[in-house]
Amino acid sequence: MTISSILKNTSVAAVAVTAAFVSSVPAEALTLNGSIGLSGNASVPNGTNPLTTTIGFNQTQIDDSVGDFASILFPTSDPLELPVLSNLTLNRTSIINGSSANYQAVPTAGFINFGTQTIGGLTDQLTFDLSQANFTRFTAGANFVALNPTNVLQGVFKFGDETVANGFLSASLSGAGDSFQLTLSTEAVPEPLTILGSLSAVGIGAVLKNKQKIKA
């Protein structure tokens, strides 16, 4: 028996063992599944119905996490103070009355940075890109501003692959205390399925090949 044939026999055994193992192990997916709730201090500028306003966020903490987000961890000594939320710029779209107006958020890539995370055995950078968010901004007096969502906030979690998520963000300035709450839930968005095309291509290919054989 030659070395080459020994190696081939070894390969056969290895492939057979792995095939048996793989058929019994569930495969992992990179698309995220679950929800996460964040809260912290917000920097909400006062003023009545400004044309543009920028909200800052700090001292963010995770209140609750479900599914894949339950395994999110941060280093004990964390100079970045993860998770970090970028400033959010809102542009006024319409005025409702003298104390309130509608605003639209500027889409923000990397709106939330969760740092490097390990989820489902995979380690990668976890970020959330904000795509769309609309708010009603209400002012009462000099030191009270409330930002309430008018519809569902939309964005994309990036962790290797992309996972679409929806949620709600509200923020307020009340006296000396500013705060915000943000909840995000993943949503399964399928890519266009090509399986039917692939299977029909098998048939079309066979028909064309047969036709060619008959003519030959």
Partner: protein
């Protein structure tokens, strides 16, 4: 005294039998992972391309040179071992998942025919690359969502909708709007169509010009079908037909688009074959007339 073995036992002792066993095992692992990972696109492409590659190998089974060296077999074994180790915790999507069919082909090719003999499998290896191409293409090609969104918004405007493109990927209509995500950019449909073009070129004879034109037409069909898909989604959102939107976006309706692309490309391939046959017939007739 000479010991004789039954025919079945003799087959077990031959190299092609073991190569067939290794190859079949790797195909089974790949298809099982795609199935268990609920990755239907890879499952469908896997069935199509593995069947084609198996058929191509089978047709040439008597002309293949099956002589390998210890070094090539060792490298092949290492590649296959890495595949097996990695596949024990394989994600449903990712770079390795896309590379697995090609690496499997390389591993078995090295076990079978040495480094020099790999040349005879270039067609099969190219076809295997296209099983995982949709998983790999994102790494090398920038997101084409803005281009898809631009063409879709233009077509909507041309069809009479008051479509407005915002921030490159948002198509706003009076009754609502859509965002063209990278998953909806059409790159998957285009890669899938390009894979079909490669299969066609490998299985049917073609001229130099056809070798250039056929992949371009495949890409064009994939892109155009996806544009119509995005236009339909945007129009349904604008008309607040969310049930219809879900059917065409997530439901059975979403399967139709790849079917349309494949039938369009199949029709084009049929036309190419007809053209080649009529040219061949003309040449034969002119030869006969000349004689």
């Amino acid at each position: 005294m000479k010991v004789t073995y039954p025919i079945v036992t003799q087959q077990f002792k031959t190299s092609p039998f073991w190569l067939l066993t290794i190859g079949s095992g790797l195909i089974a692992i790949h298809v099982t992972l795609a199935w268990r990972g609920d990755n239907l696109n890879v499952l469908g492409a896997g069935i199509l391309f593995w069947v084609t590659v198996a058929s191509m190998i089978w047709q040439r089974r008597y002309s293949l040179k099956l002589e390998s060296s210890a070094i090539a077999s060792g490298v092949g074994l290492v590649i296959i071992s890495l595949i097996l180790l990695r596949s024990l915790a394989l994600p449903a999507r990712g770079t390795f998942y896309g590379l697995m069919p090609l690496l499997s082909g390389l591993g078995v090719g090295l076990l079978a025919s040495d480094f020099r003999g790999l040349k005879q499998y270039w067609g099969e290896l190219t076809a295997l690359f296209f099983i995982g191409a949709p998983e790999l293409v994102h790494l090398f090609i920038p997101d084409i969502s803005p281009i898809t969104a631009k063409f879709s918004a233009f077509l909507l405007w041309y069809l009479g909708f008051e479509a407005r493109l915002r921030n490159q990927v948002y198509i706003d209509l009076p009754g609502g709007g859509v965002e063209v995500y990278s998953g909806c950019s059409g790159i998957d449909t285009m890669t899938h169509s390009l894979g079909l073009a490669v299969l066609f070129l490998l299985m049917f004879s073609s001229t130099k010009w056809q070798k250039v034109i056929i992949p371009i037409v495949a890409l064009g069909i994939g892109f155009t079908v996806n544009i119509f898909r995005v236009v339909l989604m945007a129009a349904l959102v604008s008309e607040n037909q969310m049930k219809a939107f879900d059917y065409w976006h997530k439901g059975d309706g979403s399967l139709i688009f790849s079917l349309i692309a494949v039938f369009c490309f199949g029709g084009f391939c049929y036309w190419v074959i007809q053209q080649n046959e009529s040219k061949q017939n003309e040449l034969q007739q002119s030869d006969l007339t000349g004689n």
